[in-house]
């Protein structure tokens, strides 16, 4: 990563501490996901901190106090984690096997960062669920999740589509669609107990 050991410079300078620099880099990538343009920032300086933060946040928010038995409940923390990381690894492997020229960690980075819209959707859903239940409640949540799902797909496609040969783009994009669809489903069916 580009931010490796930079504090071994001149002791007299006031360079920003590594943590702040890393946080700024992560924040910058969040902005790139929220306003996807054809830029290389996500690909060039990949890091996995952002995806980790997002995944942990999502998994924590999807927890429910388990009044239900373990079998019947929603996804546990470990299940969300496994789905996100295992899913991202599988999509990356699939993309590489189809002949894409993106590196393994770059692809993981993009897929992880593009969960940001869905994490925002999860936050909104949790807030909306504090209100009165009913069909309007459900419609609002459905609308938010659908919009954020579309946003995630558009963002990840903007970054990933160019790395595939043109006659296989659909084959590489479909698993991304399935991945975000499953995460959206987990968010939509979340019911706090």
């Amino acid at each position: 990563m580009a931010k490796a050991a930079e504090s071994s410079g001149d002791p007299g300078t006031t360079s920003p501490r590594p943590l702040m620099r890393d946080l700024k880099a992560v924040g910058k990538k969040f902005m790139h996901v929220l306003y996807p343009r054809k830029s290389n920032t996500l690909l060039r300086d990949w890091d996995l901190w952002g995806p980790l933060i997002l995944c942990v946040t999502l998994a924590l928010m999807l927890q429910r106090s388990s009044i239900d038995s373990e079998k019947d409940g929603g996804p546990q923390f470990a299940e969300v984690f496994v789905i996100v990381w295992f899913g991202a690894v599988t999509i990356t492997l699939n993309s590489k096997l189809l002949g894409g020229n993106i590196s393994f960690f770059q692809s993981l980075c993009v897929l992880g960062y593009c969960i940001l819209p869905l994490t925002v959707a999860m936050l909104v859903c949790r807030l909306v669920l504090l209100a009165e239940p009913g069909p309007i409640n459900f419609m609002v949540r459905l609308f938010v999740v659908v919009v954020m799902f579309a946003w995630s797909i558009v963002a990840s496609t903007a970054f990933l589509a160019d790395s595939q040969p043109p006659n296989r783009k659909a084959l590489a994009i479909y698993p991304v669609f399935l991945f975000y669809f499953v995460i959206s489903w987990m968010i939509l069916t979340f019911t706090p107990q």
Binding site: I67, D68, K71, D72, G73, G74, P75, Q76, E79, N94, K96, L97, L98, G99, L129, P133, G134, P135, N137, F138, N167, R168, K169, A170, L171, Y174, P175, L178, F181, V182, W185, M186, T189, F190, T191, P192, Q193
Partner: protein
């Protein structure tokens, strides 16, 4: 034995598609020689009796095609990349071929053309597993809307069950089938059995028809659900049977009949098992608070919050 003109048409189609694929092959009218395959002669014009010569030519051609691709070692990335060497149009064509099985149309020879891929089976199984779990969950939601005493829960463990079942089916049953066919290979010298990956490929693509069927199972009309299930099972099993028939018909009638009925039976078991496991409402003993649920307001829809419960 099929009519001679049907065989002629089939040969022409096969030959022209084969020629289209191998771009450095010479094309001419009359009998052609495919330069990469050397001494295999493709008879393009009609006439003559096909019968045994066609089968021998086909097996020659496919054997040569298989030798052509030199396989890197299985520890290299390139080995696995050779199984993902498909385009979007090819995958769509294979899916279409599995949806519309025709009696003379062997899926492996006509659609796979001895280049099996793992992309189709893997992602079709993944999609089917998720669709099963999601529509099973949706059925529960819809059932709860009609009958608020049913307790809704996301039942996330069903995703795991669905995934494991389907992947095991698509890997273990072809393994058994392939092993059995290889064991019987000594009895027939005419046509070699399919490779393991071709068998997996056929099974994987044949499961595609269940994806729209499972979505249609949301309609809560029982006889319609059984109708759709039977239709999907018929299409899917037909693909398998038409693919296996040329390999199996050389064998004794008993073995052929037993094998084909075992294949169809296993497929039916999978379909029926999925229907019963994923699409039944919860039995009443499993409800968490059945007595309190009776006092819920009738307009309760998807999210029973604690506030509504604690009246």
């Amino acid at each position: 034995m099929a009519a001679a003109d049907e065989l002629a048409f089939h040969e022409f189609e096969e030959a022209s598609n084969l020629l289209a694929e191998t771009s450095d092959a010479a094309t001419a009218s009359g009998s052609d020689q495919l330069t990469p395959q050397g001494h295999v002669a493709v008879v393009v014009d009609s006439g003559g009796s096909y019968g045994a010569e066609e089968e021998a030519e086909e097996s020659d051609r496919t054997a040569l095609l298989q030798e052509e691709k030199q396989q890197p070692g299985f520890w290299t990335f390139g080995y696995y990349q050779s199984f993902f060497d498909v385009d979007t149009s090819q995958v769509l064509d294979r899916i279409r071929g599995s949806l519309l099985p025709r009696p003379g149309h062997n899926f492996v020879r006509h659609h796979l053309r001895n280049r099996p891929d793992l992309y189709g089976p893997f992602w079709i199984c993944a999609t089917l597993a998720f669709v099963l779990a999601i529509t099973g969950n949706l059925t529960l939601v819809l059932a709860q809307r009609r009958d608020p005493s049913i307790h809704y829960s996301p039942q996330f463990h069903k995703v795991t069950v669905a995934g494991v079942t389907i992947y095991c089916y698509v890997w273990l049953v072809p393994l058994a089938l392939w092993g059995f066919l290889r064991w019987r290979k000594g009895v027939r010298e005419r046509m070699g059995p399919y490779t393991f990956l071709e068998t997996v490929c056929v099974y994987g693509y044949s499961l595609f028809v269940f994806i729209p069927t499972v979505v249609l199972w949301l309609i809560p009309v029982p006889w319609l659900q059984w109708l759709f299930g039977a239709l999907a099972l018929a299409l899917s099993a037909a693909t398998l049977v038409f693919t296996l028939w040329p390999v199996v018909r050389e064998d004794t009638r008993l073995v052929a009949a037993v094998l084909l009925s075992a294949v169809v039976l296993l497929h039916a078991l999978l379909a029926v098992g999925c229907k019963f496991y994923f699409f039944r409402p919860l039995p009443l003993e499993h409800l968490a608070p059945p007595l309190q649920a009776a006092s819920l307001p009738p307009k309760l829809l998807l999210s029973p919050t604690p506030r509504a419960r604690a009246t």
